[in-house]
């Protein structure tokens, strides 16, 4: 028993405390902060605080306390919003990068739920969920040892100091693909992968007048039962297999490239986007690319 436990412990430690490069971890910080800044500069969350009472009356008090969001506080929310924007820029360019990462994550925890609070306490898929978690990990780790506006990369040596946070970030990004696959299997079983199902989803996306921005690709693909059958199976298989991205470098780069292609397809075929897709770049080894370019 003890031997089994120690073997498991060794595998766990060997998996997580792998060596990594400062640039790869810093790139994750830059990407997460960049996405956070982009979304924060694009939204007017404070004004949601001033919506008429009728929108707020069914928001549970427990949810308001959970995020410390209360109606009628637009001036305070405006201050916090600007603080969050500046903090995200500081994390992006590397001014007090770890402190800025932490403060941005905390600001996001308070502000992001405003977007959907009138009907749900979980603002998933709105662009700030994964950046928040990535920035929290960046605060816990030496994510400011590279890609900072003042100063140079502290070390080019690989170290577990940079390895475990990057692996944890990759784990969290992978969940964006694995968990939807699990949810599809739990709710719909293998029926979800049928061509008929994906065809209906695509047709709905191009015929719904409130979201139909791009229609050509969706109409083209849904006209072919073969294309929708292949796509249905591929989507489910791809999402569930994304867990493999946590295992090997080469495999993960290929899966991440497929995921970027996947986002392009659903953007044009189904009018759906995920703001945090650039975080897929954490599966590429930026340090190897940079070292190759150095003389």
């Amino acid at each position: 028993m003890n031997r089994e436990v120690s073997r498991l412990w060794r595998s766990w430690t060997e998996y997580w405390f792998v060596e990594g490069h400062a640039v790869n971890l810093a790139l994750a910080r830059v990407l997460a902060a960049g996405i956070a800044a982009w979304v924060l500069f694009s939204r007017d969350f404070p004004a949601i605080s001033s919506l008429p009472d009728v929108y707020w009356m069914s928001v549970p008090e427990s949810t308001q306390w959970r995020y410390l969001i209360f109606p009628g506080n637009e001036p305070i929310e405006t201050l916090l919003m600007w603080a969050a924007r500046l903090s995200a820029i500081a994390a992006l360019i590397g001014i007090a990068p770890r402190l800025a990462s932490l403060s941005t994550a905390l600001f996001l925890y308070h502000l992001a739920p405003l977007e959907s609070i009138i009907w749900t306490a979980s603002p998933n898929a709105r662009g700030l969920t994964i950046p928040l978690l990535v920035l929290l990990i960046c605060a816990a780790s030496p994510s400011g040892d590279a890609l900072v506006v003042r100063g140079r990369t502290r070390t080019r040596e690989a170290s577990a100091r940079y390895g475990w946070p990057l692996r944890l970030i990759q784990f969290q990004v992978a969940m964006v693909y694995v968990l939807p696959g699990v949810a599809k299997l739990k709710e719909s079983g293998l029926n979800w992968a049928s061509g008929d199902n994906l065809r209906n989803w695509m047709l709905m996306a191009v015929q719904n007048q409130d979201i139909a921005v791009h229609t050509r690709l969706g109409e083209f693909l849904s006209a072919s039962p073969l294309a929708t059958s292949v796509a249905g199976g591929s989507v489910l298989l791809f999402e569930l297999c994304f867990v493999a991205a946590l295992v090997r470098w080469r495999g993960r780069a290929i899966l991440a490239a497929c995921a970027i292609l996947f986002h392009g397809l659903i953007y044009f075929a189904m009018n759906i986007t995920l703001q945090s897709w650039p975080l897929l770049l954490v599966f590429f080894d930026a340090s190897a690319i940079l070292n190759r370019r150095r003389p």
Partner: protein, 208 residues
């Protein structure tokens, strides 16, 4: 329950992140232990969320499009009514600071459980926004009443929405006198199916 469990998870993640930062450069073994605890909590929280299907935001369940889609679909929409009684689609930017998908999710859920008086209040506000957006679009002003620095040039929402009133010529010229929540039903497989919709008015507000 989620409103208690989820912030506890987030507080624990934050405390462990701070602890890991604090331990760095002090004690290698304590730092390793703290980092291990942080990793373990991330993995455990994601596991719970995957198993239960309930988000502990910011640890999300990501149950996106998990259901199957039938060919017969029903869809609720907001339409404005002009003085001649004609219905019009509304540019999504008029709902700022709310996005259209958040507003429609609220309409499908919590709005229907409001009292009739509160529903009229909500529809009165939505009518005001729609008419104000129409007037602004007609005058060539930005449709969204938003203080976001990037405005409508910024990041899109999770679902894309057409910019119906990008040019003044396509903006309805008649004043909006009412707003309706309608339910459209159609078969997505019927050739040109979306043109043959059955429409039912669920709720409406008409300005007197």
């Amino acid at each position: 329950m989620t409103d208690i469990a989820a912030p506890l998870v987030f507080l624990s993640l934050t405390a462990l992140a701070l602890g890991t930062w604090w331990m760095e450069g002090r004690s290698a073994s304590a730092h390793r232990r703290s980092a291990t605890a942080l990793i373990a909590l991330f993995v455990l929280a994601n596991g719970i969320v995957a198993f239960s299907g309930r988000s502990l935001w910011p640890i999300a369940a990501w149950n996106l499009m998990a259901s199957t889609m039938p060919s017969e679909v029903t869809l609720q929409r907001l339409v404005a009514v002009d003085e001649t009684g004609q219905q019009h689609g509304i540019d999504h930017r008029t709902w700022a600071p709310l996005s259209e998908e958040e507003l429609m999710a609220w309409i499908r859920g919590r709005f229907t459980r409001l009292s009739p008086v509160d529903r009229q209040d909500a529809l009165r506000d939505l009518h005001r926004r729609a008419e104000s957006g129409r007037e602004r679009a007609t005058s060539g002003l930005p449709i969204a009443e938003s203080n976001a620095p990037l405005g409508s040039r910024g990041a899109s929402t999770h679902l894309l929405h057409p910019r119906r009133w990008d040019s003044a010529e396509v903006v309805p010229s008649e004043r909006f006198v009412g707003i309706q929540v309608v339910e459209d039903r159609w078969n997505v497989r019927t050739p040109g199916g979306s043109a043959e919709r059955e429409r039912v008015v669920l709720f409406e507000f008409m300005a007197r």
